[in-house]
Subunit: 254 residues, 2 copies
């Protein structure tokens, strides 16, 4: 397919690379920032543009991969009302882009991307949705070109999927960061808990997490929890997080 | 060394296996529950006992690996006042077992263990502490037999290390569990977010987590956060967790 990327962030970068590797043509990369457009376009042998007026009308699919709160506005500026326009957001409804075209869809790769870290797209679940059955089928087929895990999921369910991802991924990462700060205050190296982080995630690949829950709260070891809270007394933010999560674990463990 | 395991839980099981594989002799396995003692003892070619009166006085090291709140009591029942007695707890002070022997130590493997899942001990950090310099050295040497990451850490710092581990591991695992429940309510499969969990932990092996934080809170995308909270309105426990973690991410992201 002839693909046009509107956006040059983490998702556009990785998705563009995977589509190109699967044999698709990336015609253009748009970014408001001309340098960003050029940087990604050169990786993808595409033409960089920084003005939507320069959008090539010869694309088969226009992938809008910008910040969630910019999606609707960008879509309303999309000039080709009969071209397939899709966004890549977990949390934005399909309808948010319907002002842009009569043919719309969602192409949401469920992964956390950093520009600097390469990633194997075949293991990344991609959930798609189309404004018609035939668009859903087309997007499912495109997704299958780059991933082994594809599914049609409607907007309502996709939002819940995104919410679950926030808990499992964004929040866990923040807990890693807090752990790092707690260690740093005592001149302890973050390396000491990296294997623990890896193993906890590895367990979740195989088991239901609730069934392998460990730690003071799961043991209802209130003495240890009290001592931890005492240590955190002067860090109200961490204190609150410790308390609310421990209470939730206690309530959900037999 | 001639090792005697007092306890037959997850830590005793994995630690006993690693020590045996490194060429040490496991003489006995004690458990209050005779079946548990037998099960682990047979794996380690050791003698099972369920009464501390039967403890062999010929051991070089007695490893007390029981629930945190049972450690002090068990130690006070330890019969050999001049034999090396160590516990394996992250959160218990060395002094908690000093009533048991004049020679005490801590041998704390920083990992989450499940009996069913085999694990490579060489990557597991082991932090040790002795009631004397020579005991610290001996424990460091024993730790090096099974792990490539060993360090002497005193009780105060070890407690902080354990607290950090609770944040990074126990709490993250609980967030995985919540994500699983959120998905299940919409008949969505947990498999959809397993790659995300794996990648988030993989990133933390290489980067400082605070530098790769993603998600609505890191983007200060208050619209998405509001919609998520609205969805969680009838789940007060998840609502509170979402709110306190999102606020903390917002406060700690530029």
């Amino acid at each position: 397919m002839k693909v046009i990327l509107i956006g040059s962030g983490n998702v556009a970068t990785h998705l563009g690379g995977a589509l190109k590797a699967a044999g698709h043509d990336i015609l253009q990369v748009w970014s408001r920032n001309a340098n960003h457009a050029s940087a990604l376009a050169s990786l993808l042998s595409a033409v960089p543009i920084d003005n939507l007026d320069d959008l090539n009308d010869n694309g088969d699919i226009y992938i809008l991969s910008v910040a969630d709160d910019a999606i609707a506005d960008m879509a309303s500026d999309f000039p080709f009302k009969d071209k397939l326009l899709v966004h890549t957001s977990g949390t934005t409804e399909l309808d948010a882009i319907k002002s842009g075209s009569s043919l719309t869809g969602v192409f949401y790769p469920l992964q956390t991307f950093s520009k600097q870290k390469p990633i194997d797209f075949r293991n990344i679940p991609i959930v798609v949705e189309g404004s018609s059955e035939s668009i859903s089928s087309l997007l499912l087929s495109l997704a299958s070109d780059i991933s082994d895990k594809t599914e049609v999921v409607n907007s309502e369910k996709r939002r819940v999927l995104h919410l679950a991802a926030v808990f499992a991924c964004n929040f866990s990462n923040h807990l890693y960061a807090i752990a790092g700060e707690i260690l740093a205050e005592q001149q302890l190296n973050f390396d000491l808990i990296r294997p623990l982080i890896a193993e906890t995630a590895a367990k979740a690949q195989v088991y239901a997490p609730s069934q392998v829950q460990t730690g003071p709260a799961a043991r209802k070891d209130f003495g240890t929890m009290e001592r931890h809270l005492l240590y955190l007394e002067n860090k109200q933010e961490w204190y609150k997080i410790y308390k609310v999560l421990s209470e939730s674990i206690v309530n959900n463990t037999q």
